[in-house]
Amino acid sequence: MKTAFFASAAVIALAAFGTTGAFAQSRDTIQIAGSSTVLPFASIVAEEFSAAFPEFKTPVVGSGGTGGGLKQFCEGVGENTIDIANASRQIKDAEREVCTTNGVTDIREVQFGFDGIVFASAASGADFALTPLQVYKAIAAKVVVDGALVDNPYKTWNEIDASLPNQPISLAIPASNHGTREVFQEKVVTAGFKEAGAPEGLSEDEIKAAETTFRQDVVIEISGDYTETLARLNSDPNTVGVFGLSFYEQNTDSLKVATVNGVTPSKETVADGEYPVSRPLFFYVKGQHIGTIPGIEDYVQFFLSEGVSGEGGILEAAGLIPQPADKTAEVLASFEAGAAQ
């Protein structure tokens, strides 16, 4: 029994020693986190990257939403911070400031393609043909009636517009940790508010409040992935959900997409700008980690190569809308120019 006790004591000591040994070992795997919209693309690139570059380990890709990823990204420089943050919107000034305070000064932005944001309902439900104005009227806490802001009176979609189905208003939108939320706010709700004709004499704060305050009884904020939104739709077929175009395209059997301003979302209509609700996709590279963590530059070059994110590349097959080749060349050039500094 005594020997067993001493043996365990030795094991504890050894484990503690092993732990301290960790400081000396350097990380050789690229660590990525962020937007759940970018996650599928980044994961595919990670896998293909390790197939094409046998000398590097497969990069590790985490989620957490654009905001969560950039928060981790800006925590500092060093092996226990991530190297790349995926983002479905541009980095905010406030986030840049946090980065700078923590010593992350070399932030390189890489834009690699586009994604559309779609409204979809359960495949068994009614057809929707929406406009930003109608969506604004459906979810805002106060709407404009006869030039004045009043509490939102609409209960069913057809009260907003006779062309819409007679079913209760219910919308599942991404919560604020998602970059998608920002695009939804800007391209749909704010656009709808402008169209509604804001009453005269409102201060800037009042306008902002009118744009961003939603009715909590009909709006469901989803902080998880699109699968959570899909589960909501399955449990309540009256709900209309906000999804990424690529998610919708992989689940066409259970979802029915709504048109916006009469345009059906598809790769083509998003690419040529006809479909109004789209956004560029990014990832941010921590320049200070280049050279410390092996393979970052190769990963970026591989990501932007034509066979990966270009037209007909593997990411297009997974639902990415490629950007023009000259834009990619420009992005790559500015990434590499950052490297020369």
Binding site: F5, I12, P54, T58, D225, T227, S246
Partner: protein, 454 residues
């Protein structure tokens, strides 16, 4: 006297009547209670059965995978690279490694899809019209890697034709297994009409076959080739964590319990410690996750997503359970045993380690295994220390990035290809349940064995 008897007999009759009337009520009460007990058991078992039936119904199809049987020709016109470098041509190992890496890179950048497509076209019925994109939707996207790896390991295959089994894509598998409604129209289907027709033909002529999905156990997670996604990486990650939990929690927990129970003076301080240990056992696991992220990652600078950190956090979580169980077991040992040992002149340490501890072994072992089983299924703290990342490799050491079984379930549950990953998720749950049942079985077996011996 007579009146006395009379009154007493009437009193006893009254009493009997009272008892009898009360008896009916008491019997009724007992019956109601029994009924409630049985109903509670039936309800609990019913829910468990419902859960199991649902998981198994969804999960069992995931253990069958569709394979595409191809006759692959390594066409020298496509594979336009020089011969593989031979070790003999190079002075040093390093030079040879550099040259073979360069060669592998060249091979990797070839368009292997041309070869996959050519071998699929060979299997086409005559005159079947299909575009190359529609055709390449049938095998999984990693078919080209499988074919390439075969060539890299044996470059003499150049110009030859070999039979290769590759995985069918997730959408093909959905169609074959009926995971997607076959009656839906073209716009709602993932695969085009020619592709679906061809899959049916391939299934009939034996090009597509179904077999047991060993890949679930032998592959790591994958997003670029979802049909090949497996649990190996997550399983090894979980194994590392459990190893750390057992190595750290058992000695620390048992030692702490022995000291507190046998040696520590009974004072206000030890009372406080005891209360706090009980409190710790009730702390929600997510709090341990936050603590782990703050202490181990931000302060100790341990790597994120590593089983080492996961193991440490789960150790903290399991410790109170083991301490409480061990103390309980020590408390249960009869004082006669201690007094006898001390009476024979044994020291306190000898008494504890030679006589008391061996008796408590079965309980400590059971507590440990149950604690580990609990830690095995824990997800919340792992999410907070970055273990929900997508990791496509097997962790070689506890410092490598890894996933864990319950986290893998969470990740698959969130995958975009719902039709394919819903069964996969259920299959992963089945594997996790299997490991837990195994652990609990071992606990019961060891307990009964050791108790018999003691």
């Amino acid at each position: 006297m007579a009146t006395d008897i009379q009154t007493s007999s009437s009193a006893s009759a009254d009493r009997r009547k009272l008892v009898r009337s009360g008896l009916r009520r008491r019997h009724l009460n007992e019956q109601i209670f029994r009924g409630l007990g049985i109903a509670a058991i039936a309800l609990a078992l019913g829910f468990v059965a419902l859960l199991f039936v649902d998981v198994f119904r969804k999960g069992i199809p995931a253990f069958i995978q569709s394979n595409v049987h191809l006759a692959v020709t390594y066409d020298p016109a496509v594979i336009d690279v020089g011969p593989a470098p031979a070790r003999a041509d190079f002075a040093s190992e390093a030079e040879f490694n550099a040259a073979s890496l360069k060669w592998q890179r060249e091979v990797a950048l070839l368009n292997w899809n041309t070869i996959v497509e050519a071998s699929l076209r060979k299997a086409l019925p005559e005159g079947y019209e299909i575009t190359s994109r529609e055709l390449l939707a049938i095998p999984e996207t990693n078919a080209r890697h499988a074919i390439r790896e075969k060539f890299v390991s044996d470059p003499s295959l150049l110009g030859q034709t070999v039979e290769v089994d590759v995985l069918a894509s997730a959408n093909t598998a959905n169609w074959v297994k009926g995971n997607i409604d076959r009656s839906l129209g073209d716009t709602q289907q993932q695969l085009s009409a020619p592709t679906r027709g061809l899959i049916d033909i391939f299934e009939e002529n034996g090009t597509i076959t179904n077999g047991f999905a060993w890949s679930i156990f032998t592959n790591v997670d994958s997003r670029s080739a979802p049909a090949s996604a497996g649990l190996l990486g997550a399983f090894v990650g979980t194994l590392w964590m459990m190893l750390i939990v057992v190595v750290l929690a058992v000695p620390i927990g048992v030692a702490a319990a022995i000291y507190l129970e046998e040696f520590a003076p009974k004072s206000r301080l030890t009372d406080l410690i005891e209360v706090n240990i009980n409190n710790l056992a009730a702390v929600p696991s997510i709090v341990f996750g936050l603590l782990g992220a703050a202490v181990f990652i931000n302060w100790f600078h341990l790597p994120i997503s590593a089983p080492l950190v996961g193991g440490l956090v789960l150790t903290l979580m399991t410790l109170p359970t083991i301490i409480i169980a061990t103390r309980g077991a020590l408390m249960g040992v009869s004082p006669a045993l201690r007094q006898a040992a001390l009476g024979m002149g044994a020291s306190k340490t000898q008494m504890v380690f030679h006589h008391v501890l061996p008796v408590t072994f079965p309980s400590i072992l059971t507590a440990t295994i149950l604690g580990v089983a609990h830690a095995l299924g824990e997800t919340a703290p792992l999410l907070l220390i970055g273990m929900k990342a997508f990791v496509a490799s097997v962790p070689a050491t506890p410092l490598d990035q890894a996933a864990a079984l319950p986290v893998q379930i969470y990740l698959w549950q969130g995958n975009e290809n719902r039709n394919f990953f819903e069964p996969r998720t259920a299959a992963a749950i089945m594997v996790l349940l299997g490991v837990m049942i195994l652990l609990n079985g071992v606990a019961i077996y060891l307990r009964s064995r050791l108790e018999k011996r003691a």
